[in-house]
Symmetry: C2
Subunit: 408 residues, 2 copies
């Protein structure tokens, strides 16, 4: 993406890329002036309309509507009772899901627990859950918790060949699509098909892909997925996760946290739980209405831009970061930990160097905000709709300066 | 509470009570003009400062602080990483808990699931969970789900004598303190002691008592409790629930949704889960930061007023409602379903009449908002800090008018 005359990076380079590939969406976010924000894959930036809209919704729908806002209000607000489903249905096109396959409400950990438990209980003759050891820790932890609770075996697979661990004993293979450390992306369709050949279900953690990488879960035959909404979906701190269950499984899978909101008629209030038809059976308690407000602004923006353009910008940003790293940082011993093949890379780039912990701390001091991940990775999160090429350039320039300082 | 000259209710009566018992807190809420809101035990009113404060926190802590706000910010904001614990510690005095015994984060259903699972797993030699059949449905549903998952027996008890069902096989007795239909309040200390005599643990659902009835969980030796923050704690729609675990159990109890936020060091990100010391082990995923914002305004107000004054006003409101029902509605066949002994009653009053479903619908049409619960209960929720005596009087007058209309 450095252009045909690829030489040393120049400010004009970044400016040109912001013109040609910028999508013009950066001013749709409220970002601190001069801050270089390279951590949108931990917490996405604040969409500009959110504070005012949340304030208005609190005043109108909560303050004036009160309990009535659980129902649809003639003026168009309220209808909280269907909000988890409606937000799920808006996330669906981003991951290639259909209407009624996605719900929103719990944390990623709780969603994972429900989905893994549901999968494991559906095929009690299979006794093994497979995860990979470099996955985001909560995935391994939750899988271990489910295995412990249900008396199953937890089996670690080789990230280089997850299918080697999937045999006829495996009930579900749970993988993270885009690695939170390196940005490496699994071959989701291929692995899904391979696991199905062994008769296993597949659950994908999409935390680091949704809103950055287009997905086609239905087409690829995925069984289950969960994902986070505060990274590339800019839902705000602690915004609820989503859970995808393929329509073909919705009759057979039940999750064990049998709350009233997942019951066939929540307001019948009878003594015996019967799960709702469809995805609502994956709900448990009252969904976090206020926590789902901010998310809707970002969904509207993604709908406006389209996931293809989002991915194109994302690839351009990561290519630019890798190119800059090669030119500016490789001489200091920095190695690109992320795949160089864009088709195998998600929305962030990780740069390794033994001193990256110290480098990250020093960068934060000068308002350059990447993230750090053990053992020695500087993680450059590039949020397609809010990160500029100029920002990437200023950020990697700063890394170079800081690295020169801490190594001398 | 009708005063020494107890006769037919007059407007002056309500005015006098608002003067003497009103606490002067009604204008701390943004309530629609002329609305009679008698459903604060479903969704508490909006504290006046919330929309502006939430808007400012979104702009500052999310928009400007971004990922940095997970840490404490020198200016005093941020510190999201400890927010669930800090909010828990502010709820603690309202329920007679100590610092480090309460956390906030999931829905009530998920919190119940965790607490019941933790209890059941701690004493595997006991194989029965006891619940009562008139409890809020989610409590029974979740208990059934836990029993099913762990291969335990679910035993229903007689609400008139729950202890009769508690024998040496019972691992945990789970009861709702204040009945969501009638407002009847269990003898929490007595039942807790009785269950302990049989060697069982006790879990209390405090959804309809926290913020309305003062509690002394530590003094009463309660083991576990959960409760809701969008009723009398005015945390907003879908605000997260809290979970109490007595300090003496914190080492022994572990819950099965092993997310990273409950791990001993969330940022170590090692492959093996080890639960955190203390209440944090009951957390799973990233807590809902935005969802915990509103709640803090109400906690500040309760701290200002004190739970003793809250309860005094609550009792005065329910007494007033019962007195008005006796005078205005009993002639039409309305029966008070709630206990007449204030010491056995929570913060709401339920009035039975065969036509209450129709009455409720008609009341809503004229901006009088109580709730309806099967089979034929009109539920009058009286939120101590936002409901006025005048409102109760106007509300019950409206019930009388509507009842006269629908019965002729």
């Amino acid at each position: 993406m450095r252009g045909p005359d690829s030489g040393a990076p120049t400010r004009a380079d970044a400016d040109r890329l912001d013109q040609t590939h910028g999508l013009g969406t950066r001013d749709r976010f409220l970002l601190p002036e001069r801050l270089v924000y390279l951590d949108g894959n931990s917490l996405g930036a604040l969409p500009a309309g959110v504070p005012g809209r949340v304030e208005a919704v609190l005043r109108e729908e909560w303050g004036q509507g009160l309990i009535r806002s659980w129902n649809a209000v003639p003026s168009g607000g309220g209808d909280w009772i269907t909000l988890a489903a409606r937000v799920g249905d808006r996330i669906a096109p981003l991951i290639g899901a259909g209407t009624g396959e996605v719900h929103v409400g719990d944390s990623t950990s709780v969603s994972l627990f429900k989905a893994l438990s549901a999968a494991a209980r559906a095929r009690p003759e299979r006794r093994v859950i497979v995860v990979e050891p470099t996955t985001f820790p909560t995935d391994g932890y939750v899988a271990a918790g489910v295995a412990d609770l249900l008396g199953l075996e937890l089996r670690w697979c080789d990230p280089a060949d997850p299918l080697a661990a999937v045999d006829g004993d495996v009930v579900v293979l749970a993988l993270t699509h885009v690695d939170f450390r390196t940005g490496a992306m699994f071959d989701l369709p291929g692995i899904t098909a391979g696991a199905h050949d062994a008769g296993a279900l597949v659950l994908w953690d999409l935390c680091h892909s949704v809103g950055s990488v287009p997905l086609a879960l239905d087409d690829w035959g995925v069984d289950l997925a969960v994902g986070c909404t505060y990274k590339y979906l800019n839902g705000g701190p602690g915004a609820p996760a989503f859970c995808y269950v393929a329509a073909r499984h919705l009759d057979a899978l039940t999750q064990p946290i049998q709350g009233w909101m997942g019951a066939v008629d929540p307001f019948l209030m009878g003594p015996t739980y019967a799960p709702a038809e469809g995805i609502r059976r994956f709900l448990s308690g009252t969904p976090p209405i206020v926590g789902m407000l901010a998310l809707q602004d970002m969904l509207a923006l993604v709908e406006e831009v389209g996931m293809a353009a989002v991915r194109e910008k994302s690839v351009a940003l990561t290519e630019h970061a890798i190119g800059l790293s090669d030119e500016l940082l490789a001489p200091s011993g920095v190695e690109v930990a992320s795949p160089r093949d864009a088709s195998r890379r998600g929305g962030h780039v990780t740069l390794n160097h033994p001193l990256m912990r110290e480098v990250t701390a020093a960068l934060w001091e000068q308002d350059v905000i990447p993230d750090y991940r053990d053992p020695h990775g500087l993680r450059i999160g590039l949020s397609p709709l809010s990160t500029s090429f100029d920002e990437v350039e200023r950020g990697l320039e700063s890394v170079r300066e800081v690295l020169a300082r801490v190594t001398t």
